[in-house]
């Protein structure tokens, strides 16, 4: 099974790239692959390169990789409750990274942890350092995770659906926080989500993934304003906009996301596609330029527009 199948993109210093797709499209696996966190076996990175400042992460020795993880590339996960250790205090878990990567002593690490927790907006951080994860609310836990991710001032933050489990008001707080921090410490962000709304306000570039491949990629404004892949177009059209009325049917993409074990020949989206032509069922369309920095993988991309 190819969970992620030959994807390529670049991330510039300080930029945000959004990775959008439905469950099972490979967006999380792609992030775990960058971090080399795919359990092997059964998983395996068959080929490809992850170049970080010119170094191929996939060729690093495990202990060199460990120095990159957390310190230079940090990751925050969707579910803070399962990624925090329930029997250790939140403070301990953040201090652990600092002591490991930044050679701090306990006292310094503690002071820095308090600083970080305050920075991510946890009120009374001094008193929270010794709390256990279950004593935190969902939003606070997610913020603690972010504090942990940011503890070593990483150059890249990979955020895998960090706000999906949270309410919209808390989500808005977190998004704002990440933007501010990005401004402050100049880190680049890979934001993985299924929510096209968040990406619109956050990212400069968007990669739309479907069945393990990037099907469309480009600057955020041209992806939303002028999509050239029927899947992107369908996703955008299926969202209720301010104009749609009750009993006015929402556009819906027919069918279901494909099973990665049993992908159709040709374009994986073809069975659900409105624009399908015979060629789609036989040949996989390449990702080709449709505009400035904007690529789409569709045989009929010229026909597709909003």
């Amino acid at each position: 099974m190819h969970a992620v199948d030959s994807i390529s993109y670049t991330l510039d210093e300080g930029d945000t790239v959004g990775v959008v797709g439905e469950s099972g499209c490979g967006k999380s696996v792609h992030a775990l692959s960058i971090m080399r966190l795919i359990p092997t076996p059964p998983g395996k990175i068959d080929h490809g390169e992850v170049l970080f400042r010119g170094r191929n992460l996939l060729e690093l020795r495990e202990d060199d990789m460990r120095r990159v993880r957390g310190a230079e590339i940090a990751m925050i996960f969707q579910d803070p409750m399962t990624s925090l250790n329930p029997v250790r205090t939140v403070g301990f878990q953040i201090m652990e990274t600092l002591i490991l990567h930044q050679d701090m002593d306990k006292g310094q690490a503690r002071a820095r942890t308090e600083e970080l927790l305050t920075m991510v907006g946890i009120p009374g951080a001094r008193n929270c350092v010794d709390d256990y994860p279950h004593q935190f609310s969902g939003g606070m836990r997610q913020r603690a995770m972010i504090a942990m991710g940011l503890s070593c001032n990483p150059s890249i933050l990979i955020a895998d659906e960090p706000t999906t489990a949270l309410d919209v008001t808390i989500q808005a707080q977190i998004v704002e926080l990440v933007k501010q921090l990005q401004h402050k410490i100049g880190m680049a962000v890979i934001w993985i989500t299924h929510d096209l709304g968040i990406i619109a306000g956050l990212a400069q570039r968007v990669n739309v993934m479907y069945a393990g491949k990037i099907v469309e990629s480009g600057p955020v404004k041209s992806i939303y304003g002028d999509p050239h892949h029927p899947y992107t177009l369908g996703l955008l059209q299926s969202l209720p906009s301010h104009g749609t009325r009750k009993n006015e049917r929402l556009f819906s993409i027919a069918g279901e996301p494909p099973d990665l074990v049993d992908l159709p020949a040709g374009c994986a989206f073809a069975p659900r596609c409105r624009y399908v032509v015979p060629r789609c069922l036989k040949e996989v369309p390449p990702l080709e330029e449709v505009g400035y920095g904007h690529k789409a993988a569709c045989w009929e991309k010229a026909r597709i527009s909003r």
């Binding site: 439905e22 469950s23 009120p123 609310s137 969902g138 939003g139 606070m140 309410d167 919209v168 008001t169 808390i170 989500q171 808005a172 707080q173 998004v175 704002e176 299924h194 929510d195 096209l196 709304g197 968040i198 990406i199 619109a200 306000g201 955020v220 404004k221 939303y224 304003g225 369908g234 996703l235 955008l236 299926s238 969202l239 209720p240 301010h242 749609t244 009750k246 009993n247 049917r249 929402l250 556009f251 819906s252 993409i253 279901e256 996301p257």
Partner: protein, 340 residues
Amino acid sequence: MIEVATNDHNTPEVLLRVKNLKKYFPIHRGVFQRHVGDVKAVDGVSFDVYRGETLGVVGESGCGKTTMGRTIIRIYEPTEGQVYFDGTDIATLKSREMRELRRSMQMIFQDPYASLNPRMSVERIVGEPLEVFHLANKEERKQRVARLLELVGLNPNFMTRYPHEFSGGQRQRIGLARSLALNPSLIVCDEPISALDVSIQAQVINLLEDLQEQLGLTYIFIAHDLSMVRHISNRVAVMYLGKIVELTDQDTLYANPLHPYTEALLSAIPVPDPIVEEQRHRILLEGDLPSPANPPKGCNFSTRCPRKVDICSEVEPEIVEVEPGHFCACHLVQPAAATS
């Protein structure tokens, strides 16, 4: 207290009237399981649902919207208050009478994986309500199940299959078929789309709307996705910490929100348009939802409210009809008649 909005030209028929409904979950502590307090999950809500409409209920997790939905159809026993369904107060009905009434009120659940018994075939799942009420013999039941599956857009040949053979969207359809088996008039939809993929959500929403039109259903649609609620609802109630803070028709709510919480909630919805997002001003709330076991004094929202004044942390605001059909519980919002 909410009274019925009297509409001059046509008074819609009230199907469900909820009056001062409360649901407290007791907290017991110590060796003797002393009753030390209550989680006030639903704390005095009142509203009407008209026949054939969709009432959307929005709010953050923990605000009591699911508990309210469940208390209305008496999956939970209400602590206090009345629920009139078609004129009968069901909050005090005996279980036998309630059982009969359950036929007309059904529920669909958030998690399409947990709400279907994995050991039962689709035929048994969808046919079970008919079996429970002895409504059909085996042959009739089979036909009825086939018709129900067709109604929700599934192939009737699938009825011998088991839930694990279906995707999330299809399972939600099975749940819907089951809830339709007894021809209910009211369906409480508890976050029916939040576990589904984006491309599948629109399919289920369209199906719900089609069925409403065909069968004259009334929905209470509980969700936290405000853009979907806006699309499907006629009127929307906004809940915060066990109380309804604002209730009005969907256009007014989105165009002219009165309660500061509604404003913040609406401004937090991300808009899938980078150009709009660039220019938007967000109202960012501070802090988290307080615990319903220990709600703040005065207005529940006072701890996070950007427009808080002194009275807010002292006196709890009553929900009042500010304009015809527009209810709001805030000290800063006064009825139009009083100010003009």
